[in-house]
Amino acid sequence: MQKVVKRNILGYKNNESKSQRAPFHSTAGSLWTDGAQERLDPQRFHVPALIKPVLSRLWRSVAIVVAIAALNFIIVHMAPGDVADVMAGESGAASPEYLADLKQRFGLDQPLIVQFFVYMGRMAQFDLGYSFRFGRPVASLIFERLPATLILAIPTLMLAFVMGSVLGVVASRRVGTWRDAAISVGALVFYATPLFWIGLMLIILFGVKLGWLPTGGMQTIGANYTGFAYVLDVGRHMILPVVTLSLFYMAYYARLMRASMLEVFGQDFIATARSKGLSEGRVAYRHVLRNALLPVVTVLGLQVAHLLGGTVLVETVFGWPGLGRLAFDSVLSRDVNLLLGILLMSSILVVSTNIAVEALYRWLDPRIGAA
């Protein structure tokens, strides 16, 4: 034991005689040149790093859309019976000749495999075909209805994401207080509540009992508003459906954000941030939030797919003339072309959201794609 002590003490003494380094401030700032070049440093903004993976992602997305188109075709054609049967059934006395004529007109008499290739070939030319039911090009039907759905979906996503995140952050910063409890319980309840039920209850309360807001449709029928009055009218009609859709997703994001924030709060680099003397607010909003957003952003793509399903219910409850309701009607009437067109459209929406999400993620998290 004595030996060790001596050696260590010696080591310590040797150490003292080491050359002294230059004092703190003398490593001059003269190396510093003009900042202009600095600002353009591509590494700093990693522009190429941002674009290249997005491009490769784009190709993958095209492949996914093609696969979805094929899958949709298979699912839809698994159905016993087609539009001809439904229409024939509706018009009552259906003569076999009439049926055969219908089928031939829509190409339904061809073998399925031929129909499949015809369909995929048309998709490749962005030709969605004709709706059997409406006798109009599917594309024009979709673009007629798409805006109505978008003005529900986009505000919903923004409201839910922003408000949900804010609530989650507030709750996470005050864990265990009444504020956290109120937000958590609220989120839990709305997360468990069916959309359509909330819609109905809001109609009763704000439409029927209080009479503040319209209970259905997208505009006041027969009012023929134009210009700003029209925008205002649609805006009033939007409120209840958007709130209905938002509550569920808001609850979802609040829960996710709270959990994500708490997870990050426990990490080592937060102790580092605090040890630098940063205020709790700065720690939470700069160091925690930025990291906590990552898992929350990732689910946006899935949420868009989920949301498009939700619009079917909300558009039904509020009589909203959107794509969701159109999809539902096309299923019921076996309007295959229209249904396939809508499904393709929604998968393009989902896939493009995923691309945007990925770009956003790359921007938020420098660890990805840098390798």
Binding site: K3, I9, G11, Q20, G29, Q43, A271, A273
Partner: protein, 335 residues
């Protein structure tokens, strides 16, 4: 001259589902300006909690500082407002942590994280802060500092990250640097480099270091004074030379016996001799003995040890102290 940091009877409790326990129990020590003071002890003995307590960074809940004083530059840190405390953190006291891999925020550049500290404590322009960040990276000898400030932590090796951490902690010329096992997570060569760097910085900047480690070799080489901790308590405090020359507390004696001896202690065939380990285990926090906490493992124990809650007490010589009933007997036994 009054010490730079004087910790007196610091007590920090954790309140868990199993009940409250003191992770740090009336620990006292002081750090003089320009000196390195080491806290040593086995894993879990409360070193990190002590360090966190000094900066009042113990996570609450479950932890809370329940007693004592932390006098730093003449003020009791425990009586400061949060705002005043924040000026101390990163301003007068810098801190570096055990895990360089996880102690830097992955989504900000090294430069951002250094300038953040500067801009928090000084009114300094963005450009000046960046200039200073480059100086700091040069100082901790990160090559190509002008480019590295734009780099993200994941691009740096562990050693480089720890250097960046040091640069961050030193940003505002602190009087005291708390280094919580700064090299445990690094490989052996890097360890030595980082410790050398800290030692040089200490000299050139005239700051004090509170060095937390469980490596007595490091203590011997870099520290001037030392506090040995066991199960939340200080058991022996001394100048480094004294401690290694004549350890008093049986626990310290055990630890020193357990030091690996890389070259001297090999047998005739060149195999290392077995370490002189202390038998037994550190008692669980909820099952601490009432008397001396080391008593169950102690070969010097007498029946009175079971009863007496013995605390760190100065020995006759005055400059050192030990928490042992039998300290006087042991001193007499020394050759």
């Amino acid at each position: 001259m009054a010490p730079l940091l004087d910790v007196r009877d610091l007590t920090t409790h954790f309140f868990t589902q199993k009940g409250a326990f003191a992770a740090v129990d009336k620990v006292s020590f002081s750090v003089n300006a320009g000196e390195t003071m080491a806290l040593v002890g086995e894993s879990g003995c409360g070193k990190s909690v002590t360090a966190a307590s000094i900066l009042r960074l113990v996570p609450d809940p479950p932890g809370r500082i329940t007693g004592g004083e932390i006098i730093f530059e003449g003020r009791d840190l425990l009586s400061l407002t949060m705002r005043e405390m924040r000026k101390v953190r990163g301003g007068r006291i810098g801190m570096i942590f055990q895990e360089p891999m996880t102690s830097l925020n992955p989504v900000f550049t090294i430069g951002d994280q250094i300038t953040e500290s500067l801009r928090e404590h000084r009114s300094i322009s963005r450009a000046d802060a960046e200039r200073r960040a480059i100086e700091l990276l040069d100082l901790v000898r990160i090559p190509d500092a002008r480019r590295q400030i734009h780099n993200y932590p994941h691009r740096l090796s562990g050693g480089m990250r720890q250097r960046a951490m040091i640069a961050m902690a030193l940003a505002c010329d602190p009087a005291l640097l708390i280094a919580d096992e700064p090299t445990t997570a690094l490989d052996v060569t890097t360890q030595a480099q980082i410790l050398e760097l800290l030692d040089e910085l200490k000299r050139s900047l005239g700051m004090a270091i509170l060095l937390i480690t469980h490596d007595l070799g490091v203590v011997a080489e870099y520290a001037q004074s030392v506090l040995v901790m066991y199960a939340g308590r200080g058991v022996e405090a001394a100048k480094v030379e004294d401690l290694f020359h004549s350890p008093i507390h049986p626990y310290t004696r055990g630890l020193l016996g357990a030091l690996p001896h890389p070259d001297d202690d090999v047998d005739s065939e060149g195999r290392p001799l077995p370490l002189n380990e202390i038998s037994g285990m550190v008692p669980a926090l909820d099952a601490m003995p009432a008397g001396c906490r080391f008593e169950p493992r102690c070969s010097y124990a007498v029946p009175a040890c079971k009863m007496t809650d013995v605390r760190l007490a100065p020995l006759a010589e005055g400059v050192r102290s030990a928490a042992c009933l039998r300290a006087a007997d042991i001193v007499q036994d020394q050759p």
